[in-house]
């Protein structure tokens, strides 16, 4: 960074300009000098500098006037004032007006080195911050592009997200495993006022109660065996940001009480700690479980439920919005084709029909995995029925154990029809039923030949 930094030294004393320029040049900076404020402005208009070293006392336009003009024309300009011992008050005034530091001449070599080190470190941080904010703003604009959904139900979800994101109200996202609850939580965070703060996620179902307590609240050194050093908890880390509690239905009622207190008092105490730490975050929770049912069974606290469920975002399973399948399949195909470098163009009609008639118990996550697998095993330019045959095996659905009897029957009838290339007589024979029964089932389940 130092080699590219462009410095302007402005002083009416030529020897000061020369000495300072020589010092910076030896450190690898690009330096130009100006004998007056006007000359400095002319240089600046041609090409702005990263940092200006400006003498306060100069004939004509003095340092303070030049500072004001520089800030007007180049608001992000960093200006360091050079002053004599007698005019420190003026230097302090300059700092109030936007100068970032000042030096009393003559300065100690250590002082100049330290000032430059400090300046470079702070400039690097500011530049990084600007870049990150720009990236985030760009991300905010494109966040819904991450969602591939055309169905009316999902459009409603997006509308809810846009409405609720700017508030800081707690949100509960409900839906089956694999529907994209964390993606929605991210979208809410990105559109919220807390978007510049952290997004801290924790899967409550994956941890034991003790571990979850330690993860959420943090602990002090020696709080328990193995706590070799103090650790901040997720509740503390989420300060000024968003805390995402995934699988909130798995939290024990004891932990629900502890969390309820945090949500009300906005304070936490680390495990083994004795003082409270203030934390302020927006809470987003998600669950695939029926929380009102859990409340009835005394497995979930009603007060905690109302605290986390100010706004509900229900996400429909994929089988209820099958019209999203083609777009999602194309999206995942594009992604995995890019990752694997294969040349593939799309899906055959038959393959698309198979995707559309599957019940997707694992939802979007399952669809993603299916497409990834199909891309890996595909040899041609199109994903065909051959790459998706495993969808027709009953085990493909049964292995998740979430199918209803009706869904299982649909899947089995469809598999028999596919296996017999939609020859009704052969399929009926394979199923052990007569042709008219099979025709009734085809009609009842709206099965169509792909």
């Amino acid at each position: 960074m130092s080699s590219t930094m462009h410095i302007m030294v402005v002083d009416d004393e030529k020897n000061i300009c020369e000495a300072l320029a020589a010092w910076f040049q030896k450190d690898g900076y690009r330096v130009e000098t100006a004998g007056s404020g006007m000359e400095a402005l002319e240089h600046m208009l041609q090409k702005p500098f990263d940092v200006y070293f400006v003498d306060i006392k100069m004939p004509g336009m003095d340092g303070l006037e030049l500072l004001a003009k520089l800030k007007e024309k180049q608001p992000d300009a960093d200006v360091i004032m050079i002053t004599a011992h007698g005019s420190i008050q003026t230097a302090v005034e300059a700092m109030k007006r936007g100068a970032c530091d000042y030096l009393c001449k003559p300065f100690d070599p250590d002082q100049l080195s330290l000032l430059m080190e400090r300046f470079i470190a702070s400039k690097a941080l500011r530049d990084e911050n600007i870049a990150l904010r720009e990236q985030l703003a760009e991300h905010r604009e494109t966040i819904f592009e991450g969602f591939v959904a055309q169905s009316e139900t999902m459009q409603k979800v997006f509308s809810i997200i846009e409405d609720v994101a700017p508030s800081s109200a707690p949100v509960l996202i409900t839906g089956e495993t694999g529907v994209g609850k964390e993606l929605i939580a991210h979208a809410i965070h990105t559109h919220s006022e807390q978007s510049y703060g952290p997004f801290v996620a924790i899967n409550c179902g994956a941890l034991s109660e003790t571990l979850l307590e330690s993860e959420l609240f943090g602990h002090e050194k020696g709080a328990f065996t193995g706590a070799a050093k103090a650790r901040r908890g997720r509740l503390e880390m989420a300060n000024n940001g968003t805390l995402f509690l995934d699988e909130v239905g798995e939290i024990s009622t004891k932990m629900q009480v502890a969390l309820l207190r945090v949500l009300e008092e906005k304070k936490i105490e680390r495990v083994g700690g004795s003082h409270a730490v203030v934390t302020n975050f927006r809470l987003i929770s998600a669950t695939h479980r029926d929380l009102p049912q859990l409340i009835k069974g005394n497995q979930f606290r009603e007060d905690f439920f109302y605290r986390i469920n100010v706004i509900t975002v229900p996400v429909a399973p994929l089988r209820e919005r099958l019209e999203d399948v083609p777009a999602l399949a194309d999206h995942f195909l594009e992604r995995y084709v890019r990752e694997t470098g294969k040349r593939m163009e799309g899906f055959t009609q038959r393959a698309l029909g198979m995707l559309m008639s599957y019940s997707w118990p694992g939802n979007v996550r399952e669809l993603r995995n299916v497409i990834e697998r199909a891309v890996v095993i595909a040899r041609g330019r199109m994903v065909g029925a051959k790459e998706l045959t495993f969808l027709n095996t009953p085990s493909a659905e049964c292995q998740l154990g979430t199918l209803t009897l009706r869904e299982l029957e649909i899947s089995h009838v469809r598999a028999a029809l596919e296996a017999c290339n939609w020859n009704i007589s052969r399929a009926a024979k394979q199923l052990g039923i007569d042709r008219s029964t099979l025709n009734r089932k085809i009609k009842r389940y709206h099965l169509t030949r792909p």
């Binding site: 020897n15 000495a19 040049q25 030896k26 450190d27 001449k105 003559p106 100690d108 070599p109 100049l112």
Partner: protein, 187 residues
């Protein structure tokens, strides 16, 4: 085929110019280090007297930039000049300097004033390090960020003492290149 002609005596590329009385041992050590570490043939010139013209009464120091301008004006002798002085040096912007040099220029200056240590060996090492550093600048080398390289800037004695007596490989390479140009231009 071998010739019987003896090699011509190498011409000095740097003159050590003593400003007033300067510790003789320090002068010899600087000359030896410039010759062995950088490969600069060095001549020790006679004393040219105290630079009263560069005295800054308010600071009781000598202005290094003015002395360097005077050294630059010396046209005879070697192409590079390194002044040595026992008095304290400053510049218009800095309260003191151990040495000063023109980047890629003709003249540099070293002061022994702030470099003394209880152990004379440490004192001579410091003087040699500052001299090598300033001559490095004369050869166009900028400050190096490697912590032990002689071209690392030392704003006080602690980092100066932690430097090795060598240039890092990158600075050494640049010095060799500059030396080739200097030798070709002066033979």
């Amino acid at each position: 085929m071998h010739t019987n002609q003896s090699k011509p005596k190498n011409k000095a590329l740097l003159d050590l110019i003593l400003l007033g009385h300067v510790n003789e041992m320090a002068v010899s050590i600087v000359a030896a280090n410039l010759q062995t570490i950088i490969g600069l043939n060095t001549d020790i010139r006679t004393v040219i007297g105290d630079p009263d013209y560069a005295f800054v009464p308010g600071r009781n120091q000598f202005d290094a930039t003015r002395i360097i301008k005077t050294l630059c004006a010396i046209t005879d002798g070697a192409p590079l000049k390194l002044g040595m002085i026992e008095n304290d040096l400053c510049t218009p912007i800095l309260t003191f300097v151990y040495g000063e040099s023109q980047l890629g220029g003709k003249a540099a200056l070293v002061s022994l004033h702030r470099l003394s240590a209880e152990d004379p060996a440490v004192t001579y090492q410091r003087i040699a390090k500052i001299s090598l550093h300033e001559v490095g600048h004369l050869l166009g080398i900028k400050h190096c960020w490697k912590t032990t390289c002689l071209m690392k800037h030392s704003s006080n004695l602690e980092p100066l003492d932690s430097l090795s007596m060598y240039f890092c490989s990158a600075c050494e390479y640049e010095i060799k290149r500059s030396m080739e140009v200097l030798v070709n231009r002066n033979t």
